[in-house]
């Protein structure tokens, strides 16, 4: 790695960003949106039983590591992935890989990375970043959610890599082992990825995809008559907004990112229907943003009918998504 002018990329989402930068370093020009789309990473999951700080789990993308794995699988690239039983072994392996000029991806906790602003530091153990070098006791870090490269002291990075708890990474590190022998058949891969994503979004389960969105709408509707405190209701709506905008980066719970992928897909596959779908997805993304504004409005000035109105708005989004994913499923077949 040329340390002086490392081609750092500032991206919306950490995992797709890390993967894109890694692939580009190998001469495979795929931007973040392409990586995200090829990994069929868009989803919607609502698991009321699993609580995060007392709030139900809501996610707008596939679980951690699935982007890395799915992209490599699709492109036929071998990825070397390692976990470690002790922190010391983890550090030795990282230093060794860096000495071999490798560009190394790590899964870390957000909480222990000193360069994160305090409000963003919480116990999320599945953040992804790249290490491209080491100087004395500091690692040179390309963290995709920051504009510029960062530095992190050895001890702090060790703590972030080996933080315990849910999704604990056990020092997980990965780097690309080989280049694909032939340039990837992108058009075929894109069709496959869109088909898989449509299937995910249309799954016949109440907590996934379009049905999951409807379940959340129902849960919001119920708040109007719920015995929960006003404070809980506000925090619940705020939680949905945070999962969509703050955690589900890329804007509108990744809708803009996916729309960007569809736009590129239209060009690569010579399929105008994807361009149309991209425009529809953008419009749906805009509505997700309006939905977030409605939630915040309700937090600021709660009204009794407000919950019902938000639920109706969200159901409309779900309906449009269902239509869009059905047409995408047909086109990609």
């Amino acid at each position: 790695m040329n340390k002086a002018n490392f081609p750092h990329q500032h991206t919306a989402h950490c995992e797709s960003g890390v993967m894109s930068t890694m692939l580009k370093a190998q001469g495979i020009e795929l931007n973040e949106a392409m990586v995200f789309g090829l990994a069929h990473a868009l989803t919607f999951v609502y698991l009321p039983i699993i609580k995060i700080s007392g709030m139900p789990l809501i996610s707008y993308r596939m679980p951690p590591r699935s982007i890395i794995k799915n992209v490599c699988k699709a492109l036929g690239i071998k990825l070397k992935i390692q976990k470690f039983s002790t922190a010391l072994l983890g550090q030795q392996a990282l230093d060794q890989a860096l000495a071999e000029q490798k560009l190394v991806g790590l899964q870390t906790s957000v909480f222990w990375l000193p360069y994160f602003p305090p409000e963003m530091r919480f116990h999320f153990n599945a953040h992804n970043l790249l290490v491209y070098g080491k100087q004395q006791h500091e690692y040179l870090i390309s963290d995709p959610v920051f504009e510029s490269v960062q530095r992190c002291n050895e001890d702090d990075l060790q703590k972030a890599r080996f933080a315990k708890g849910a999704l604990a990474s056990k020092g997980l590190m990965y780097y690309l082992d080989s280049k694909p022998e032939q340039p990837p058949e992108l058009a075929t891969l894109i069709h496959q990825a869109i088909r898989k994503n449509a299937k995910q979004m249309l799954a016949p389960l109440f907590f996934v995809g379009v049905k999951g969105i409807c379940s959340v709408a129902k849960s919001i509707e119920k708040l109007a008559t719920s015995k929960k405190s006003e404070k809980y209701k506000k925090l619940y709506l705020g939680h949905i907004v945070r999962m969509q905008e703050e955690i589900g980066t890329g804007g509108a719970g990744f809708r803009y990112l996916y729309a960007y992928f569809l736009e590129q897909a239209a060009d690569i596959c010579q399929q105008p229907a994807y361009q149309q779908a991209s425009e529809q997805m953008t419009a749906i993304g805009d509505q997700w943003r309006q939905f977030a504004s409605l939630c915040v409005k309700q937090c600021r000035k709660p009204t009794e009918q407000g919950y019902g109105e938000i639920a109706v708005f969200l159901r409309k989004i779900a309906e449009q998504e269902e239509l869009l994913w059905r047409s995408l499923k047909n086109v990609s077949n």
Binding site: F111, G238, Y260
Partner: protein, 128 residues
């Protein structure tokens, strides 16, 4: 969303950082950045304010001798009973028990070390 419509609300929660957001210009997607969005900032600040209030309450409870310092540090370092249990490898009922000052006072060094590792600090009130 059009690039020109991206909110640039200079949110405090961004600490001067920019966030990447994809938006269109003349119908084509481009990479752009945002300095913040007030609706998103509201949700973040609301959540942080709630955590801060819980931390403050916990601090008072510790100072009043109702709870052990673990109770305060749990909030201060953004844990809840579930995540603290996962991190320390203790059971939730054990942690709840350790919230009692008289039980905490008798904890063996081995257990204290687990808490110290989870919090990354000494087990004392450090309200700076």
């Amino acid at each position: 969303m059009e690039i020109d419509d991206i909110p640039q609300d200079n949110s405090k929660t961004y600490h001067g950082h920019q966030k990447v957001i994809y938006a269109t210009q003349n119908g084509q997607y481009q990479t752009a950045t945002s300095s913040g969005w007030q609706d998103e900032a509201f949700a973040t600040e609301q959540a942080v304010a709630e955590l801060d209030a819980q931390t403050e309450n916990a601090l008072q409870a510790v100072k009043n001798g109702e709870k052990s310092v673990i109770y305060y540090l749990m909030y201060k370092y953004r844990y809840d009973e579930t995540s603290l249990a996962q991190t320390t490898g203790l059971w939730k009922w054990q942690i709840r028990r350790h919230f009692r000052p008289e039980i905490f006072a008798k904890l063996p060094e081995k257990t204290l070390a687990k808490y110290r590792e989870a919090f990354g600090c000494k087990l004392e009130i450090n309200d700076e």
